[in-house]
């Protein structure tokens, strides 16, 4: 049931589906009975006013929060209770709203850490370095270098990320997520706090990622313009409830959505 978008990208079967997710902290309900799906190869946007529960949704998907009710289905299988790192190993990578890079490490090491789920040589080989450990290291370095090249961050390869300007850090973080070669890429406000130029670059990258590597992308973004250009389908949350779900146009004209947005005065 693969369909084609007008710009010729293939959209496949359902990759991830959340069913009736309800998440509460103490008494407060962050998410109430949310269901939607993400299809293979598409760019899916989750939008909504502040405190709508977008980030909570992402945290549920990446296994950081465990919802009281509801199920997460990934690649056709119901997901049991999992630690976040197990979710990562299943092939879900993500970036964070306020950059969560490893400040003490270089750009290169951050990206290499992104591949940690694929690295396996045991501690003894590591101690010896020469042999399997080095071979593995180099194999992954080659992959990472492709990403560095793709994002055009060669110049900062060995700079500690702590020293980088905000825009570049965002880019490195994207790189770290890409390095995981995940099936599904979750981007939490990839363009927050960027200037116009940086936003354009970031859009370009997201589209290229989706196109070149066929990665499925789910992103949270405030900038409506961006969302409408980028995404194939949009799901709208408000106060932890699902307002609407559909193509950018459908959503744009949905009265409930308009109301909600006028409500918060966007």
């Amino acid at each position: 049931m693969a369909e084609l978008t007008q710009d010729g990208r293939k959209i496949g079967d359902i990759l991830l589906e959340v069913k009736n997710i309800t998440l509460a902290f103490g008494g407060v309900k962050a998410l109430t009975n949310i269901s939607f799906d993400i299809k293979e190869g598409e760019i899916r946007a989750i939008i909504g006013p502040n405190g709508a529960g977008k980030s909570s949704m992402l945290n549920v998907i990446s296994g950081f929060y465990h919802p009281q009710q509801g199920e997460v289905w990934f690649r056709g299988q119901k997901r049991g209770p999992m630690r976040p790192y197990e979710v990562a190993r299943q092939g879900i990578a993500r970036t964070f709203q306020n950059i969560a890079l490893f400040k003490g490490m270089s750009t290169l090491d951050n990206l290499m850490t992104g591949r940690i789920t694929q690295m396996h040589t045991n501690i003894l080989w590591q101690a010896l370095w020469k042999g399997p450990a080095e071979r593995e290291e180099i194999a992954h370095r080659e992959k990472v270098e492709r990403i560095i090249d793709f994002l055009g961050i060669q110049a900062i390869r060995k700079t500690p990320v702590g020293r980088l300007p905000y825009g570049l850090q965002k880019r490195v973080e994207l790189g770290r997520a890409l390095a995981a070669e995940a099936k599904l890429l979750l981007l939490d406000e990839p363009m927050a706090g960027m200037n116009l130029e940086e936003k354009e670059d970031m859009c370009r990258f997201i589209l290229d990622v989706n196109e070149e590597f066929g990665t499925t992308i789910a992103l949270i973004e405030h900038d409506m313009g961006v969302v409408m250009d980028l995404s194939d389908r949009v799901v709208v949350l408000d106060y932890g409830k699902k307002l609407a779900d559909g193509t950018p146009n459908e959503v744009r004209n949905d009265p409930a959505v308009i109301e909600a947005y006028l409500g918060v005065g966007h």
Binding site: S55, N59, F64, F96, Q97, A100
Partner: protein
């Protein structure tokens, strides 16, 4: 009541009394940690230093006599009969304030927004420094401290409790050291005073403000620096009191500085930021370790106090990582 029961009761009472002492030291930590986020390892040494100074003043030692003698071949010892206890205490308080001022001036103000671990290590450095300094100033020999506190067994308590025992079991009665009781009394007094201070004085409120958030403190209109000096001074007083108690109990010597180590488990138990926590924690640990030693310690070869407190705290933490009264740690992404 059966003698066994009474023995347990005795152990508990002594545990409580010891616990109060722990709380006393822990209090010093909490004050500083709340106000400046610094985990002040030097608290113990401060107690030692305070005690040394006090004794020095009382006995009229000449500071640095040892050093001077070595360098100039003189034979200085004392300058006279020494001060009456009351003045000596006042003077010592003055010294502690001066000390607090210097610490802020020379060390702390250079350390703003450093990593906690660095601050912690700095205070350890400070501890080393003060220990060396104290020894140079007053000599390293063990001194006896007498500030006129009652000491020895309390006979009426003994006789009274002896009566509780079941007939025929010639139970001697409970042993309670007057000094411990006095110490407990003073400690409680101190806590009350501190609470009142922090509740009803401008400075006190400022302190609490700082604890919550430093910016807020500045808006209260007291500079962070001043507040730090005040806090460290108060911690100094607390240290002095603790120094007096422990000094009077087991002589003024290096080991006194180790009470800091006694206070640490109290802290994790009670939480770094909570005064009530420090007190309750202290009592729990005091009672706990005494009971453990009494019941099981013997079988393990005794001296379990050295570690029991820690292991207790450790297991406790497994279930409440932020301590008894500490603020809850919420993890966010």
């Amino acid at each position: 009541m059966s003698p066994e029961l009474l023995n347990v009761l005795e152990v508990i009472i002594n545990g409580l009394l010891a616990g109060v002492m722990y709380s006393l030291v822990a209090l010093g930590f909490v004050l500083i940690y709340k106000a400046s986020g610094i985990f002040n390892y030097a608290q113990g040494v401060m107690a030692l230093f305070a005690a040394l100074t006090l004794v020095g003043f009382q006995t009229g030692q000449i500071p640095f006599a040892h050093v001077i003698n070595t360098i100039f071949g003189t034979h200085l010892e004392t300058w006279g009969p020494g001060l009456p206890t009351f003045f000596a205490i006042l003077l010592t308080m003055g010294v502690m304030v001066l000390f607090a001022y210097l610490v802020e001036r020379i060390v702390l103000r250079h350390m703003v927004n450093q990593a906690p671990i660095i601050l912690f290590m700095t205070t350890i450095g400070l501890a080393y420094f003060m220990e060396g300094f104290g020894d140079l100033m007053w000599g390293a020999d063990i001194k006896t401290m007498d500030v006129g506190l009652p000491s020895g067994a309390s006979t009426w308590f003994e006789t009274m409790t002896a009566g509780w025992a079941t007939e025929g079991s010639n139970y001697p009665g409970m042993y309670v050291d007057m000094l411990d009781v006095a110490a407990a009394g003073i400690a409680i007094l101190l806590v009350v005073v501190l609470t009142l201070f922090s509740q009803y004085t401008k400075t006190g409120r400022a302190l609490r403000a700082v604890a919550d958030d430093h910016q807020a403190a500045l808006t209260v209109g007291i500079s962070l620096r001043t507040i730090w000096v005040i806090v460290w001074s108060i911690a100094g007083f607390v240290a002095l009191v603790a120094g007096i108690m422990w000094g009077a109990k087991s002589g003024v010597q290096f080991s006194l500085s180790l009470i800091a180590l006694k206070a640490l488990p109290v802290l994790i138990l009670g939480g770094f930021t909570s005064i009530p926590g420090a007190i309750v924690g202290g009592l729990i640990i005091g009672v706990g370790e005494k009971l453990f030693e009494y019941s099981i310690g013997g079988m393990l070869g005794g001296a379990t106090e050295n570690w029991f407190a820690y292991v207790l705290a450790l297991f406790f933490l497994m279930f409440r990582p932020q301590g008894l009264f500490g603020e809850r740690i919420i993890e966010r992404v």
